[in-house]
């Protein structure tokens, strides 16, 4: 089945929404059956027959009782739907982080996701790891235009708007990889700003945290030298080295990720090489510039990046 089906929730906000939507769907289905039934009946029963001739049917101008009936009943339906919606709305929007909740700050960029875990001192990009069975509360910021964080099986979407911090939360009760993507048009490569949320067991999550907290192994490889002396360091950070740029994703633990370019390509040597030499071939219109390096240098940098675990 679809990995992004809103009717396959694994987290409380998504589940509350499914509950509400079933009520709404059932109500609207009943309304549809009744009104469509009336329409079908009228369309068939009152069609003019050839034998009708020129006589006009009796002219009926209105009826107060009938108008009252079909005003009052819809008003009652509206009230019921409104109350149900308000209850779920409040339960999701007013939720406070319980003790032990994880805090993550998500910053949207054209066209990638930045993740910071302030209490764990972790900065990473594009692939979000959270522990199962625990609430994760997310602060949503933007570095440039509007974006929207939408992982349907985990919760409804909330926008990332510059100068307007937002909050959302998830509490997945199943492990696995949950997919989504940016849901507010943000420019040329909006379509490839994909979301990958890894819900880990407690042990796997702790292991991932330890990996992320290690600084990069500092060395003297040719690739690292080239990386540190070209414009790469203007945009990217590799902690423990001279690279401290903030415009692009943090690469310190690049090889712990399964994809690159916010999910647009698998994290393989071949794709890394292509991404560095010709980003437009992978994600045309992304903000990664073609670095104009020769093949040997790109090879060296790729070798270096492959050491970033």
């Amino acid at each position: 089945m679809s990995p992004t089906n809103i009717f396959a929730p694994v987290s409380t906000p998504a589940e509350s929404i499914v509950g509400l939507s079933i009520f709404v769907l059932a109500t609207t289905a009943v309304v549809f059956v009744v009104v469509f039934g009336l329409l079908a009946y009228v369309v068939i029963k009152f069609r003019s027959r050839p034998l009708d001739g020129q006589r006009e049917p009796p002219q009926v101008y209105g009826s107060t009782q009938v108008e009252m009936a079909w005003t009052v009943i819809p008003v009652l339906i509206v009230i019921a739907l409104f109350l149900a919606s308000s209850r779920v709305l409040a339960s999701i929007q007013n939720a406070k982080p319980p003790a032990g909740a994880l805090e993550v700050i998500v910053t949207g960029h054209q066209y990638w996701w930045e993740y910071r875990y302030p209490s764990l001192n972790i900065v990473t990009a594009n692939e979000l790891h959270v522990p199962v069975g625990v609430s994760t509360f997310i602060t949503l910021l933007s570095a440039d235009t509007d974006h929207s964080f939408w992982v349907p099986r985990l919760g409804g979407k909330t926008d990332l708007i510059p100068n307007h911090p937002n909050r959302t939360w998830i509490d997945p009760r199943e492990t696995g990889l949950f997919l989504g993507q940016c849901a507010q048009y943000c420019g040329t490569q909006h379509a490839k700003m994909l979301l990958r949320v890894y819900v880990d067991t407690r042990q796997d999550f702790d292991r991932w945290v330890r990996e992320q907290q290690r600084p990069a192994q500092n060395g003297t490889s040719a690739g690292q030298r080239i990386f540190e002396s070209t414009a790469c360091i203007n945009c990217h950070t590799i902690s423990g080295t001279a690279a401290a740029g903030k415009f692009g994703p943090d690469l310190t633990h690049l090889m712990t990720r399964e994809t690159i370019a916010a999910g647009a390509a698998p994290n393989t040597r071949e794709m890394l090489h292509l991404w560095i030499s010709n980003p437009d071939a992978v994600k045309p219109g992304s903000k990664m510039p073609a670095m104009g390096l020769n093949d040997r240098d790109v090879d060296a940098i790729t070798d270096y990046l492959e050491t970033l675990r």
Binding site: P3, S21, L25, S86, L89, W150, R167
Partner: protein, 555 residues
């Protein structure tokens, strides 16, 4: 010069240049109405091509029919074109042509303002399409806008939209906005001040009431859009900070200003569709409209409530729970008067003797589809549900269900119903039915199945999508539906052209109808009425045809 010059007859021997000059300088409401409608039909084809390009690109995942840059321009231009240069001109065109005739007047209140308004609207379309010239040269100095039809800040700031593409969008909407406000002023003054003797507000056809409320709605609706466009120009050219988030400005305030326009705008479009249905359904059911006073009150209620629902487009933006809750309530509330109207139309058909000529086929399609559109709207009004559905293909399906399934279907019906009056010739009934069925099939193939990818997590405005998300087969079906819709529209355009030359003569009153426009010749003389009529009831011609049972005994 009468409007029968639309039909080539041997009687008019004036040279082509003089005839064209007559059209370009006209202030006659009937000619301006025709100009609006022809203008809209040209842009309908342009917008249709843009839609087709998008659906070809989305027919399978990771398709490369067009680049992301081109695709993003396509959805921006498609939306802007269809709303501002197809739907609005059609609505204003029909109102222009029919309102004076229906109220027994000889023209609109301000004929020169009428012409000015049309040409300002036309200029807007020119601005928008001029943007295609110039291409990507030097920082994208040309190039069509690609910021989406609602152009959210700060994507429209100079930093994120270099070049002039956004400015073409801004100028286009500012210019056509002036035209819209001019037409609204004209309609209100005409309807309030120029009704024939005896036609009190309670005796006007519902068509006129609905256009009055529509015009009244245009005034507080378009003015916020014009203001927002001015602010955007200040930001882009004078270094202003209205929407500059880096200087403490707010991206959300653009959304508020835009949707304060954007939501009532859809009521500006749908009220005239209701107007068409409220004239066609009674005539083809052979019964007076059921509940005229309630229909008027419901219309006015819709007009007022529609100004209080705008932020249901912003449920995901992070407003407080209190604000979100208010907009849930107001949005659901508007379903009540809207539902009442559906019931009144059904009650009009109840006990009637329904004739299924092409206008009525389209109106029955409208009733069926508007019911569904309204119900998916109720789903979207439930804010938490909207947190999943917003900005997905479910919303795209919903609003196309309203704009195409309800509004365009009524407009098609209006064409078949009133073009005999305008041209003096009937449209071909067989081609009409073919048009209906082709378009009906295509519409449902595309827009029924489009709800599903939304439910399965597909956002809108993406130039391609990932395989393995379960969206592939639905996108394929959606794209196939385009073929049938295109075929239907081509049949329609062919029918329009063909009937101008070979259509059956219509006579004054081919449908045996009851409102004043059917008392004039087809087409009407330039002055409409040699002697102004005096109205005694809502259906003056019914009274004439049934002197033993006139309406004014029962109203």
């Amino acid at each position: 010069m009468s409007t029968s010059s639309l039909v080539l007859t041997q009687a008019q021997a004036r040279p082509l240049t003089l005839r064209l000059h007559g059209w370009v300088t006209t202030v006659d409401h009937k000619r301006l109405g025709i100009l609006y409608i022809l203008y809209a039909l040209v842009f309908l084809l342009a917008g249709g091509v843009e839609a087709t390009i998008m659906r070809v690109q989305l027919i399978r995942p990771h398709n490369d029919f067009v680049s992301p840059q081109v695709f993003n321009r396509m959805f921006t231009m498609h939306g802007t074109t269809m709303i501002f240069f197809v739907a609005m001109p059609l609505v204003f065109g029909f109102a222009n042509y029919l309102v004076p005739l229906m109220i027994g007047a000889r023209d609109m209140a301000f004929p020169r303002l009428n012409a000015f308004s049309f040409w300002m609207t036309a200029l807007g379309g020119l601005f928008l399409y001029f943007s295609f010239l110039g291409g990507d040269g030097l920082y994208g100095a040309g190039g069509a806008p690609d910021v989406g039809w609602f152009a959210y800040a700060p994507l429209t700031a100079k930093t994120f939209s270099v070049g002039h593409s956004t400015d073409f969008w801004t100028l286009s909407l500012f210019s056509s906005g002036i035209g819209s406000i001019g037409t609204a002023i004209n309609l209100i003054a005409t309807i309030l001040c120029m009704r024939c003797p005896g036609m009190t507000l309670g005796k006007m056809p519902l068509f006129v009431w609905l256009n009055l409320v529509m015009a009244g709605l245009v005034i507080p609706t378009i003015s916020p859009l014009s203001a927002a466009q001015l602010m955007l120009l200040v930001d882009r050219y004078l270094g202003g900070h209205f929407f500059d988030t880096q200087a403490g400005g707010s991206a959300v305030i653009w959304m508020h200003f835009f949707w304060i326009f954007g939501h009532p705008e859809v009521y500006v479009l749908v009220l005239p569709a209701f107007a068409f249905a409220s004239e066609i359904i009674p005539v083809f059911s052979r019964k007076a409209i059921f509940g005229y006073p309630v229909m008027v009150v419901a219309t006015v209620a819709i007009g007022f409530i529609s100004m209080s629902v705008w932020a249901h487009h912003m449920f995901t933006v992070g407003m407080s729970a209190g604000a979100n809750t208010f907009f849930v309530l107001s949005t659901m509330a508007i379903a009540v008067p809207t539902g009442i109207k559906i019931f009144n139309w059904l009650a009009t058909m109840w006990g009637g003797k329904i004739r299924y000529a092409t206008p009525m086929l389209f109106c029955v399609g409208f009733l069926f589809q508007f019911l569904i559109a309204g119900l998916t709207g109720v789903m979207l009004a439930a804010a938490p549900f909207d947190w999943q559905l917003a900005n997905s293909y479910f919303v795209v399906a919903h609003f196309h269900y309203v704009i195409v399934g309800a509004i365009l279907f009524c407009i098609f019906g209006a064409f078949y119903y009133w073009s005999p009056k305008v041209t003096g010739k009937m449209l071909d009934e067989m081609l009409g039915k073919l048009h209906f069925w082709l378009f009906f099939i295509g519409f449902h193939l595309t827009f029924d199945f489009m709800h599903i990818p939304g439910i399965l997590g597909m956002p809108r405005r993406i130039y391609t999508y990932e395989p393995g998300r379960g969206w592939d087969v639905w996108n394929l079906i959606v794209s196939i539906g385009v073929i049938f819709q295109a075929a239907g529209v081509l049949v329609f355009v062919g029918n329009l052209i063909w009937s101008c030359f070979r259509g059956k003569r219509a006579g004054n009153d081919p449908w045996d109808a009851w409102t004043l426009e059917w008392s004039t010749s087809s087409p009407p003389p330039e002055y409409n009425y040699a002697v102004l009529p005096i109205a005694r009831s809502r259906r003056p011609l019914w009274d004439l045809k049934h002197p033993e049972d006139p309406d004014w005994r029962y109203e």
